[in-house]
Symmetry: C2
Subunit: 276 residues, 2 copies
């Protein structure tokens, strides 16, 4: 039974854990939300790498055999450092998201599958993820054209619980209209932040209102599939074990908000101190 | 010439520094924004106290002779720890704000000055400040009735630069209508977060639209006056020295956003590492 660690700055990565649970049912999962130091979205590369490394070291000490960096910002800014420092496989959310967008562009069920060189992708993400150019690099490697849009208000709106609210719809209208004006030919939208799956229905509605429906890639699901592929032949025998949850702050808030992201109630959350 | 340190989790405290500069023109000012660990608003008391103490230790080492905690969250949750740990006067923003609200209730220019026991105050603040009950205690000590409203979206909206924007107006309409429905008799509004002075004109407009204009207390100005009172007879002789600015992350963002809070361009900002 493999021990798989899932790491995020907060609760957002629970959407990735949610996708992993049914896919790898006999794994032991550890989840760490570095809530004392969130959000990572507006911080510098050096700071984010330092936070990610100390979080990974803790998870390694708990027996992690694989690390899923379920945070776009940390994947964008600290994946190379994590891969270099850890003796276990490390999977981020950026590359699986880009690959899923690419697969969608060539999908055989599409009437007119595009060569990826003509496929154009819009990525919504935090300011730090956009500034990192990580999606640009991942998409360029696949021959995809990309346009990125920083959406700093979406995480606070999701955390306020306004996932189906007129204000969130209006903010999405502004962000999406600006992005589509700059990149009118995009066909695919990548949700480049693990908070965004919670407003996917609202994003779809606003896109319809704007007369510009898009295929939407949820990188949480794409990342879970990528993690399953890396695992050596997974036995489906073992008993399901409930995940263990760690947070660096605000246990109560973690449990309260986390259940919306995980899609089920969270059991006990353990408070840990990573310094800082 | 006194050395006065002003501390905040980010740029918000620059509104307090802005009020201090003309009031104590011959002081040497140090400003520290603990931007690597912001926002404090959603973190626990223990974490906030730890951050505030390490920031204060740095400022003391730079020669600070007085500390102005220009952050409502840190004032609400760490002022006692700071006062106990530091050998210099420490001033927070909560008590000056409450005292200004009380003075307004009894203001002789009002036709019908109220006894403070009948005066009712609405405080807008972050979730952590509200949960701390710090304003409740400060107002109760003055005999003021208080109603608090957590407004988690206002800081992100101000930091997005949407200080005069329809979305911010709509969010304010929602927050203020909810608060006024629960406390219809309030006469005074305290801006319980140093980010909020930037949306004071919008708050005034929304209150007029709601048919419920309020006296607004800007605790930045009240805090600057309280700091000036604590200083031993300030000589107005010395030369004006430009403030020194420190931040723990995002120098570029600090300079760019900070100027809106300070009301003038920021000179060099020094990056420091407080760990964490």
């Amino acid at each position: 039974m493999p021990t798989i660690a899932v790491f995020d700055s907060g609760f957002g990565g629970l959407t990735v854990l949610r996708a992993l649970l049914p896919l790898i049912p006999d794994a032991r999962f550890l989840y760490l939300g570095d809530t004392a130091r969130l959000p990572y979205g507006a911080k510098s590369q050096q700071t984010i790498a330092r936070y990610a490394l100390s979080s990974a070291a803790f998870l390694l000490a708990q027996g992690a055999q694989m690390l899923v960096v379920a945070c776009n910002t940390a994947s964008a800014l600290a994946l190379d450092e994590l891969k270099a420092a850890l003796p276990i496989p490390v999977i981020g959310v950026i590359e699986p998201g880009a690959q899923a967008a690419n697969a969608l562009a060539r999908h055989p069920s599409s009437l007119f599958p595009l060569p990826s060189s003509l496929a154009s992708v819009l990525v919504l993400a935090t300011a730090a993820t956009v500034q990192s150019n990580a999606y640009t690099k991942a998409c360029a490697a696949l021959g995809l054209t990309i346009h990125e849009k920083a959406c700093p208000l979406l995480v606070p709106l999701v955390e306020e619980g306004w996932t189906d609210h007129p204000v969130t719809a209006e903010v999405l209208r502004i962000y999406l209209a600006e992005a589509l004006a700059e990149a009118p030919s995009v066909q695919t939208l990548v949700l480049g932040c693990t908070h965004y799956p919670l407003i996917k229905p609202l994003i779809e509605r606003v896109l319809r209102e704007l007369g510009h429906p898009l295929h939407i890639v949820d990188s949480a699901a794409a990342t879970a599939i990528a993690a399953a592929k890396v695992l050596p032949a997974v036995s489906s025998e073992g008993e399901a074990i409930p995940p263990t949850f760690y947070a660096t702050d605000s246990i109560e808030k973690f449990q309260r908000l986390g259940s919306a992201f995980l899609g089920q109630a969270l059991p006990e959350v353990k408070l840990i101190d990573l310094g800082g």
